[in-house]
Each structure stands twice: as structure tokens, then as C-alpha cells.
């Protein structure tokens, strides 16, 4: 019997013939922690009597969730991270570098075939590079950086076979929202998701990140994709590590194969307060919006900002709307400046904030008021997510958010792409 991508990666990293359902102890290629989770992991590291990180070149910490620090409590947690990374000789991406997942990808820390853990649930993003990456908590992170290994239950795999080319004005964000709405917020719990087919192949690598990023919003342990020339090229420009592509066997066993024709997909929107509460944008069209947010590990990359700039060129953000933009990294910020995108966004009335997570996770930089409607490119619309449990968060593509920022109401962006 053949193997899935997940079974192959766990076999290679555990030295065993790993099959779905097996418990294995596997070697880790890279480990990441951020300022929401690393401080607890540092405490656990000491409680476990850890002395040295197993391999300083395979660990990075990122200060992105509250960057720069909004209060003294967070400042002391950041200080703890700075002292720990300095003592251990591990890489620290301090404030302004950007969102952890964007850095892991663009700085070349992950290549195809890798097994990676991160103490952040959206670590699944790297699956778009044909790597198995998954989110863990602080205690697992501590065990990982001490030993370089972690126990895993090898997951069964559910395959999403996506056919058809997305119509103009419809993006990978709409695709993943649609899939989550279809399968539900716990539809892939404990499973690996494989996203493949013509629709995925046609997307650029950066567009694919948006899909893999949100695998966790259907409960999945990983959001995996196939290796192709686009991935090979993307990685070659960024990492010195050799890629080790992994292909599923033709006779691999899947728990389920779900087929979709996406050639007529409409722009999608996730309504409060769960990510699977998805409908076509048309059903919510006209709802007044008070805050629009473009950024995050889901949709804060240069391709996303290009789309926003295309819509906002020569236009103004509606007077009733606050548009906040957070480039997902310093590199994205620089690229956007060089391309004139920042000029366009600022002239339109956007407020640009430091590359990082801020508004998405509700720590600072854009906490909404009671009763307000927020339209965001992020991955979560949980009650209270952005720092106020009496606000309503809707999720959509950068195109939908930018178009709605112009009109002041939830707006179908397709007319901008005719």
C-alpha cells in the first residue's frame, strides 16, 4: 500500500515505516516560537532542566504578536525572549521584522520535505512548500528545542481535489473560505489536508500560502500541497537548504477525497463569529463597515498589497471607514515602497502599521469599538479576537476588503477586475 505525503515525511523523520494512526518520535528540521507562546516555553525549558538548545541553527523566535510592545507586561516578556535567544545563540526576529510565518518562508527556514513545528497555530502555512508543519503549544516547543524531537500521531489524510480556474476578482482566500464553509470548522480535526488539482497548480506560491495557512480553521493538523516548478523556483531564491520533494503514491490511502469545481466561484465572506459561517459576498453586500484591515500571515504579502493598490489607486477610503494596513514583513514593506504601493495606500487614506500581527490578534494597533463591523483579511473572526467581544468581524479577500473600504459597505470586488 502506498503512502500519503504525511506518511512519507513522518517515515523519513522517524526512521520507521510510519502509517496513519502510528505514534512516532520524529526529528525536527526547524522550530519556531513567537512572543505569545515563547515566554511560557522558556519557563518550561527551565522547569524541564534544559540547559542548551539542541541546535541553535534550527530554532528562531519572533516578536510579532505585540510589536512594538503596547504595555510593560509584554515588555518584560520580550526582554525574557531577548535574553534567552542571546544566551542560547539562536536567531531572534525582533519588532519590525514581521509576522513569524512570513519570515519562516521568505528567510528560507523551510524547504520541501521538512518537518517543522511552531508554537503558533498557523504554522500549517508552510505546507504550501510541500513540508509538514504544524502548530504546538509552549510545553511541546520546550521539549522540541531541548531534544530536537517530538512525538506525533501520524494523521490520516483528506484530499481536496480542486478543478477549474478561479474567475477574475476571485482569489485563493475565497477558495479556502469556501472549503471551510463546506467542511466546517472541525471537519478536518486531527487530519492532514492535501490541497491539489488544476486550481491550486494555477496559483502562485504566495497565493497558495493563504490556503495552507487556513487549514487549521477546518481543524487540520497540516495543509499540504504538491511540489512543482513554482515551489522549486520560489525556494531556490531563498534557502540554501536542498529541497527534498515528497510525492504521494498513486495508491496512497485517503480517508476521503472531496472534489470541487471552482470555475464559477464567487467572492466569499466569513460572518461572525466562526470561520465556517461562510456565504457569497453578495449575501452581505451593503453592510456598513467601520474598520477595514489588510495584513496578517493570511493576506499581508506583496501580491495582496498589489491587489489593494490596484483598487485604491486614485480613490479615497470612505469617510466612515478606518483602513489599517500591516505589511506581513519588513521585506514586503520595502517591496511595497519600491513599487509605489505604500504611496497609493497612504494617499487613499490608509494607516500603515508596523509589520506584525497586532490588529488580528487584538493586542493593539486597531481594537474596534462596541457594535462596530470590521472587515478583515485575517484568518479568524472569533468573538473578541480583535480585542473587543462586542465587535463583529467578517473575513474576506484583500480585494473585497479594499473595495469595501472605498464604498464604506461590504462590496463585491469583481467589477474592479473586468
Amino acid at each position: 500500500m502506498g503512502k500519503t505525503i504525511a506518511e512519507k515525511i513522518f517515515s523519513q523523520h522517524s526512521g520507521e515505516d510510519a502509517r496513519a494512526g502510528d505514534l512516532v518520535i520524529a526529528h525536527l528540521d526547524f522550530i519556531m516560537g513567537q512572543d505569545g507562546t515563547a515566554p511560557l516555553a522558556i519557563n518550561s525549558f527551565h522547569e524541564m532542566r534544559g540547559e542548551k538548545v539542541f541546535d541553535p541553527s534550527k530554532v528562531a523566535f519572533v516578536i510579532d504578536h505585540s510589536a512594538p510592545s503596547p504595555n510593560e507586561g509584554v515588555s518584560s516578556l520580550h526582554k525574557l525572549m531577548r535574553e534567552f535567544t542571546s544566551k542560547q545563540g539562536i536567531l531572534l526576529y525582533d519588532i519590525g521584522h514581521g509576522v513569524c510565518h512570513q519570515l519562516m518562508l521568505e528567510q528560507g527556514h523551510v524547504v520541501p520535505g521538512d518537518l517543522v513545528i511552531g508554537a503558533d497555530s498557523h504554522t500549517c502555512t508552510y505546507g504550501a512548500l510541500n513540508a509538514f508543519s504544524t502548530g504546538v503549544g509552549s510545553t511541546d516547543l520546550a521539549a522540541g528545542i531541548i531534544s530536537g524531537k517530538l512525538w506525533f500521531k501520524v494523521p490520516e489524510t483528506i484530499k481536496f481535489l480542486c478543478e477549474g480556474i478561479l474567475p477574475p476578482g476571485v482569489f485563493s482566500k475565497d477558495l479556502i473560505l469556501y472549503l471551510i464553509g463546506d467542511i466546517g470548522a472541525d471537519g478536518a480535526t486531527y487530519l492532514a489536508a492535501e490541497y491539489c488539482g488544476e486550481t491550486i497548480s494555477a496559483l502562485d506560491v504566495e497565493e497558495r500560502f493563504t490556503i495552507a495557512n487556513m487549514a487549521i480553521e477546518m481543524g487540520a493538523k497540516a495543509g499540504l500541497m504538491e511540489f512543482d516548478e513554482k515551489v522549486k523556483k520560489w525556494v531556490a531564491g531563498r534557502s540554501k537548504k536542498p529541497p527534498r520533494p515528497v510525492f504521494a503514491d498513486p495508491d496512497a490511502k485517503y480517508l476521503e477525497i472531496r472534489k470541487y469545481d471552482l470555475s464559477h466561484l464567487e467572492p466569499q465572506i466569513a460572518c461572525p463569529h466562526t470561520v465556517d459561517n461562510v456565504s457569497p459576498v453578495g449575501q452581505v453586500e451593503g453592510l456598513p463597515v467601520q474598520q477595514a484591515f489588510i495584513g496578517t500571515c493570511t493576506n499581508g504579502r506583496i501580491n495582496d498589497l498589489r491587489i489593494a493598490a490596484r483598487i485604491l489607486t486614485g480613490k479615497k477610503v470612505s469617510p466612515g471607514v478606518r483602513l489599517i494596513v500591516a505589511p506581513s514583513s519588513r521585506q514586503v514593506f520595502l517591496d511595497a515602497m519600491n513599487e509605489g504601493i505604500i504611496q497609493v495606500l497612504v494617499e487613499a487614506g490608509a494607516a500603515i502599521v508596523t509589520p506584525g500581527c497586532g490588529p488580528c490578534v487584538g493586542t493593539h494597533n486597531g481594537v474596534p469599538s462596541d457594535g462596530e463591523v470590521v472587515l478583515s483579511t485575517a484568518n479568524r473572526n472569533f468573538k473578541g479576537r480583535m480585542g473587543n467581544s462586542r465587535a463583529s468581524i467578517y473575513l474576506a479577500s484583500p480585494a473585497t476588503v479594499a473595495a469595501s473600504a472605498v464604498t464604506g459597505r461590504v462590496t463585491d470586488p469583481r467589477p474592479f477586475f473586468l
Binding site: G137, I146, K153, T189, G219, K221
Partner: protein, 167 residues
């Protein structure tokens, strides 16, 4: 740790980590500070009315969302003896075991139990009993490896003992 008795608090489906402990309170790693805001965005009055030994009973996908270990820590430190749910999100499940918060998966118990019920939980056997009616439910058993971590009170103690043995 094997037998627990406590009063039930009911929560619905998809209780996410932002409802369990909002990120705006993650400016500390002190579990007692976190406990003051436990479940606040799901029920603002919860931190004031929960008593040590109480039990949370919820629907499907409990603990979905973030990987923040502060979520099970806040629940444990608030005095909750265990969480019973129809199902748990993956990272929460793993974090709860790692920090020694007992969790039990039972769709039948989650459907039957009501707020204020008194229940008895036998963690070793995975049995849940509603005391007034005597109704019993069995939870999905943990693999032996995870039972061992839970018996040690979490991964930290588990690792410490392994290190001790190898010394």
C-alpha cells in the same frame, strides 16, 4: 487524581481559545492572573462564579483556534477539575495533556449533562456519572503513552523523570 466530583458548567460548540483566554490578557505568564479572565469572552460572569473542583462540559471542537497554552492553564488555574466535551481541537487536546489538565471526550455525556448537575468522573477508567440520576457514560480512552504523561501530571514532569532515569 483518579476520582473527581464537581458541579457542571455548560458551554456550546466551537468554544475558541480567544473565548477561553483573550490575547489582550497574554501580557503575563502567571497562571493566577490568566485564571481571572478564564472563559471571559464566552461568559463574562464565569471567573466570578466558578468554584474549585467544578467541571466544564461543552459541545464539539472545544479549544479551537490558537496554540496558546495559556488556554488550558487558565482553566486549570481557575480550579476546573476537568473538561468534558463532544470533541476537542487538536492543539488544545495536546496542550491540555502536556500541562496536566484532565480532558474527556464523550458526545453522550456532553449531550445529557445540564448546568448545575453534579458529576463523578473516574479518570483512570474514563467513566462519567451524573450523580442524581446515576446515568453513566464512558469516554474515548487515551492511548497508553498519553495516559502515562497524564499520570505524571504533564509533560514537564514526564520529561524530568526520563532525564533523572538516564542520569
Amino acid at each position: 487524581m483518579s476520582i473527581l466530583k464537581g458541579k457542571v458548567w455548560i458551554f456550546g460548540n466551537d468554544i475558541d481559545t480567544d473565548a477561553i483566554i483573550p490575547a489582550r490578557y497574554l501580557n503575563t505568564s502567571d497562571p493566577s492572573e490568566l485564571a481571572l479572565h478564564c472563559m471571559e469572552d464566552a461568559d463574562p460572569s464565569f471567573p466570578g462564579k466558578v468554584s474549585p473542583g467544578d467541571i466544564i462540559v461543552a459541545g464539539k471542537n472545544f479549544g479551537c483556534g490558537s496554540s496558546r497554552e495559556h488556554a488550558p492553564l487558565a482553566i486549570k488555574e481557575a480550579g476546573i477539575a476537568c473538561v468534558i466535551a463532544e470533541s476537542f481541537a487538536r492543539i488544545f487536546y495536546r496542550n491540555a495533556i502536556n500541562i496536566g489538565l484532565p480532558i474527556l471526550e464523550s458526545a453522550e455525556a456532553a449531550a445529557f449533562l445540564k448546568e448545575g448537575h453534579q458529576v463523578e468522573v473516574n479518570l483512570d477508567k474514563g467513566e462519567i456519572m451524573e450523580i442524581s440520576s446515576g446515568r453513566r457514560f464512558s469516554a474515548v480512552p487515551f492511548p497508553p503513552f498519553m495516559q502515562e504523561i497524564m499520570a505524571k501530571g504533564g509533560l514537564i514532569n514526564f520529561v524530568k523523570e526520563k532525564v533523572k532515569k538516564s542520569e
